[in-house]
Symmetry: C2
């Protein structure tokens, strides 16, 4: 078993077996040209001496780190935790490890994280953009060196970068259609920074659903803020003061929706009776608030798996960057009480 103190190298194994380090190196990685018996011996001695491969030496020689970088806005959601788990699963199987960091929704951090990853020579990067990222020049370092960059969830339209996300437009469209179907006519949409696809697309879906149902789009009913609790409460208050009062709120995420519900109830109004509310993401708290929240569900684990596979594929078949453009995953409308004005049939 492993001994204390000094590290064992292939040279130590070679010496003990009276063979060359080259053979040990080949033997350890099951090179076909090595005699089966020798291989067995090498493996046995390696184990017995407590050998562990030195990845620095190997990486140095191979000019490859076997590390995939992941930059996300925040790790604090079930969604993101699932994404990471999905990525880990695929990536580990392919022999890579992860280098994860959070931008905390600030472009500034995103930039420095990207630099750190570049300097650590990651073999590929998975990115979900920060709230306030205005450009993606900080990823050009990677493309210049042919290091694949894949965006997921918070993606950006760019010929160079493949991406994975759900159809936010369609999801929002179906959600708003549902609200309309429930009899809502003045639907407020609370969204985030319109530079982020997830918010812009949801807004478009909202607008199109209105249009397709002959409902006018009233600019006043579109509220864009930073989706924090405070902004959610402020937005809710604003809605409550509008005349005529809107009969529904579609918030771009669950946390915002939930805080709207609380605020509406605090004002003595009923959800969904007076105002129906819907969110996006199907967070845990969607089933904690009362009434439970109608929302859009999509699978983080799956998204992580796909994103990871995309990167791994690029690494396995370099030069095919252009083949895969973008991938759209499915999402699902989850109808709960917060939007049910009519009794369920």
């Amino acid at each position: 078993m492993a001994e204390t103190g000094k590290e064992i190298t292939i040279y130590d194994i070679a010496q003990k077996l009276n063979i060359s380090a080259a053979t040990v190196s080949r033997g350890l990685k099951d090179h076909p040209g090595v005699n089966k018996n020798t291989k067995r011996k090498i493996l046995a001695t390696a184990n017995e001496m407590g050998y562990r491969s030195n990845s620095f030496a190997s990486n140095l020689r191979n000019r490859k780190s076997n590390i995939i970088g992941v930059i996300v806005p925040r790790l604090n959601s079930n969604f993101m935790s699932d994404v990471i788990a999905g990525i880990e699963k695929v990536v580990n199987k392919a022999g890579y490890t992860l280098f994860i960091s959070q931008s905390l929704e600030l472009m500034q951090n995103e930039v420095s994280n990207a630099k750190a990853m570049f300097n650590n020579r990651v073999d590929g990067v998975l990115v979900s953009l920060a709230y306030d990222t205005t450009n993606i020049e900080h990823f050009e370092f990677f493309t210049k060196r042919d290091i694949p960059v894949v965006f997921f969830d918070r993606v950006i339209e760019h010929a160079k970068y493949p991406s994975i996300c759900i159809d936010n437009y369609k999801a929002a469209y179906s959600l708003v259609s549902h609200l309309i179907e429930q009899g809502c006519k003045r639907i407020v949409h609370i969204s985030g920074d319109q530079r982020r696809n997830v918010y812009a697309d949801r807004t478009r879906g909202y607008q199109q659903a209105l249009k397709d149902n002959q409902l006018p789009f009233d600019k006043e009913l579109l509220i864009v803020n930073d989706l924090t609790k405070e902004s959610a409460i402020a937005a809710a208050k604003k809605v409550l003061g509008m005349k005529p009062r809107p009969d529904a709120i579609f918030a771009a995420n669950d946390y915002c929706a939930v805080n709207c519900i609380l605020e509406i109830k605090k004002a003595g109004l009923k959800v969904p009776g007076d105002i129906a509310v819907a969110g996006f993401n199907n967070d845990q708290m969607a089933c904690v608030v009362e009434p439970h929240l109608t929302t859009i569900d999509y699978k983080g684990f799956e998204m992580g798996e796909f994103a990871a596979r995309m990167i791994i594929n690029h690494l396995a078949n370099p030069g095919e960057l252009q083949n895969t453009h973008s991938l759209i995953l499915r999402s699902e409308l989850i109808i709960r009480e917060s939007s049910l004005k009519k009794p369920a049939i």
Copy 2:
């Protein structure tokens, strides 16, 4: 600026400046023995040629990875996201990067993650234990090689490993005392696996608070499960069926507490009127549920910072492992409506 294609090494810089690679190496890291002018030139050329240090070569030579491993049960809470952010802050400042992985509450994953980190030659490891971890032999690899391991939050009593957590006993004691002070006499405690300090200590605090207030400890009132939503609901149902009916539930985490509240309300009873409820952790959802949840708050960011500092210190002053044993951070009782039987004074 950075060129496309090939990587620049110190040899390229050396050649361009007609000096030796040794000087370039020293110049780049501000070695005192290098002429100021030469340094300036080296830095300038490095920039201009788009040089980035090759960490593999450097790590190989220095026998040091500058990577800190972090193993956590799950990344899905605000708490954990804050911890990671705190760790990142300290660790980055000291020139390290993070290698994060989740055990998903399974010892099996924790073991393989630990191995992966060991093989990647992390310089230190920060760990919060999985739900079902029964022993910590998988960390002996590290101690044998004098690689520091620091536990945080979900810690374990062990002379070899320093740890950081809050005083779960005291926190639970103060929380239960508060419930008693509100007039509760039959208090249920729902907890998790008692092998985890966080749960065992909370249970102890609960029991001691009862004792100090002349309340009998009824075994039936201590429910141990896995704290999932399903278990929470089952536990709540059990409580509702008890005779005489308990007048309070102290759950070992907020998610469990929240689901109890929902279940109690579903049964037509009032919280806190019929049954007071309290949780632990001050998750976002504590303020989503109605009534808002009384709970214990403690700062993940701080905990991350401290844990990281501890590891960094150990790395800076090796051999002082025994100096720092364990650190107890403060926590705070947050009283909200879910436990207020008496009107606030």
